[in-house]
Point group: C2
Chain length 223, copies 2
Amino acid sequence: MKVGILGTGMVGQTIGNALAAQGHLVMLGSRQAGKAEAVAWARSAGVNARQGSFADAAAFGELIFNCTKGDAAVAAITAAGPVNLAGKALVDVSNPLDFSKGMPPSLFVGNTDSLAEQVQRAAPQAKVVKALNTLNCYLMVDPSKLAGDHDLFICGDDADAKAQVQGLLTGAFGWKPAQIRDLGPLSGARATEALLPLWIRLFGSLGHANFNFHMNIGPAPKD
Amino acid sequence: MKVGILGTGMVGQTIGNALAAQGHLVMLGSRQAGKAEAVAWARSAGVNARQGSFADAAAFGELIFNCTKGDAAVAAITAAGPVNLAGKALVDVSNPLDFSKGMPPSLFVGNTDSLAEQVQRAAPQAKVVKALNTLNCYLMVDPSKLAGDHDLFICGDDADAKAQVQGLLTGAFGWKPAQIRDLGPLSGARATEALLPLWIRLFGSLGHANFNFHMNIGPAPKD
């Protein structure tokens, strides 16, 4: 599959590497084509990898990942071009972290709205799926690196797009269907983006990112 | 130990029952002494149980639980009397749920503040410890009812009060020390109160409350 990735940071590169290694054709997009990090990545990631602008990556991909920093996400979507994203599954991995007030960061949107919903409003015809935003990128693309039970949350308004994304998560990254917890409509991103404050505090106290959330769900009680 | 519980709903009664059954002396407090639910509870819960006003319960307890509804918490603390709470560990179990905009509820405080911090400001000399707010009350007092790993988050600015509360959690309710995750200062409540949107969505989709969060934490990666 052709995949466009918005964002050339560690998350975008890690997802790009994993997809290119699986034979998918990947274009990493940044504000301007030819960005040094993206060129270096495309050179190192092999024949399946290329780079371009946000709009190039959006037009190239049949499925898109948004891996930009949260405060740049809506601008990146706008630059990518809503028309280039129309009808496509758009996996929003970004988080609305606001580092301007010091550590730990706060969230610049939440509670009654989410960054995923802002992204959806910026590209109304895209099929936004929120996923992968609650764990470190090296676990995103290889969940087997963390032993024991842990979960991936997914939500979105378009059932077909969610199914397509789940297929990629299981097929390319090795998530087991039982690990993928569907929270329903895209407004579920309000709940998963709200996990970041806890994630960041644990990251700060542990000093590493080799951890993830798990919902321990027992049987319905008899009463 | 003498324990005062603010709030006569299911959470307060469940915690009160568990403590009274363990031989603690428990007073359930409400806006006015003699509230029918509290009188009925005190009658059914045995010789260790009594009821009174918020101020009565605060004065009675050597340790206090705030089990009021979130939107009534600060008023309850004020009615309890900061002087009655001074120097005591005050376990804040409440959550800032706002049901006024429909389901699922939003939070009326969060991100850069928390209900626990509001409670602390209302009773500056109390030693507020946030705990037990991320799971159903029947698991709060008997975590063994859910098989497998699951966690209890705790935070607060006073180390002695946290230690006292942890002692009660392990001694009276059966939490294992390894299940109790200390998030540091009371501002950690911003992170744990923010788990409620996910909890509520899961409760809605599962149709029961027999579940809890678990942080799956692996070893620090070697790199």
